[in-house]
Amino acid sequence: MQEKSKQRPKFLTLQEIRLPLPGIASILHRVSGAGLFLFLPFLIWLLQLSLSAAPEGQALFAQYSGNFLVRLVLLGLVWAFLHHCCMGIRILLIDVHVGVEKAKARSSAVAVMAVSLALTAVFGLKLLGVY
């Protein structure tokens, strides 16, 4: 237990908040979730084009899925999904009391960041047509 007398900040001034690494991974869980929510119509629209039976729809899908900006946005969303998913697994494990200790919680946060970034790179190279 920490001392009660310790001064704690009672504000949420975003510029003044300094988070430890697990805190950064945690807030990115929220940021990535919000991003996925905001881009949901875009993703549903792409799904619709990809499943369109009409040749015009398919042509439109080919045109948009080949667009650099669309691919860049998709790459961002791939990271958002991967981070959100990896962090979600970490949260579920902590829910069942796995990795609750400070050191383990820190290393699992590092693992979440590293795995999601590495997988984003793997998908990113695929998206850019490297392999």
């Binding site: 929220r30 119509p41 499943l51 579920l92």
Partner: protein
């Protein structure tokens, strides 16, 4: 009683639903990943054939419902955490709900007409 109409309803239900929908979505993503590796996106024909399969449509439907419920809980938590004004919060809760119900209808329509 000091309950707020736009509060979290003070229960475990949404917390648990958040986790159940997460696991359901993760399972679906694994299914899609395996299907892609097996060649489901070789062409638009194979992709449409895969997505219109009865079992896949069933799974996709559950994924869409899970996603919207999951997003509802998550986005609502964001509004609750950062917005002090109850009127603004209620407005955004309603807009979020309407958007998600609309997205669900749209996505279900996409897979159901295949």
């Amino acid at each position: 009683m000091n309950r707020i109409v736009v509060g979290a309803h003070y229960g475990l239900k949404d917390w648990l639903a958040q986790r159940i929908t997460a696991v359901a979505m993760a399972a679906y993503v694994v299914l899609i990943f395996v299907a892609v590796l097996a060649g489901a996106v070789e062409s638009s024909e194979t992709w449409q054939a895969f997505m219109s399969h009865g079992a896949v449509r069933f799974a996709t439907f559950l994924f869409i419902v899970s996603l919207c419920y999951h997003a509802w809980v998550g986005v609502r938590d964001i509004w609750m955490d950062y917005l002090a004004c109850a009127a603004l919060r209620l407005t955004l809760h309603v807009l979020t709900l309407f958007a998600l119900v609309g997205y669900a209808g749209w996505a279900i329509w996409i897979i159901w007409r295949l």
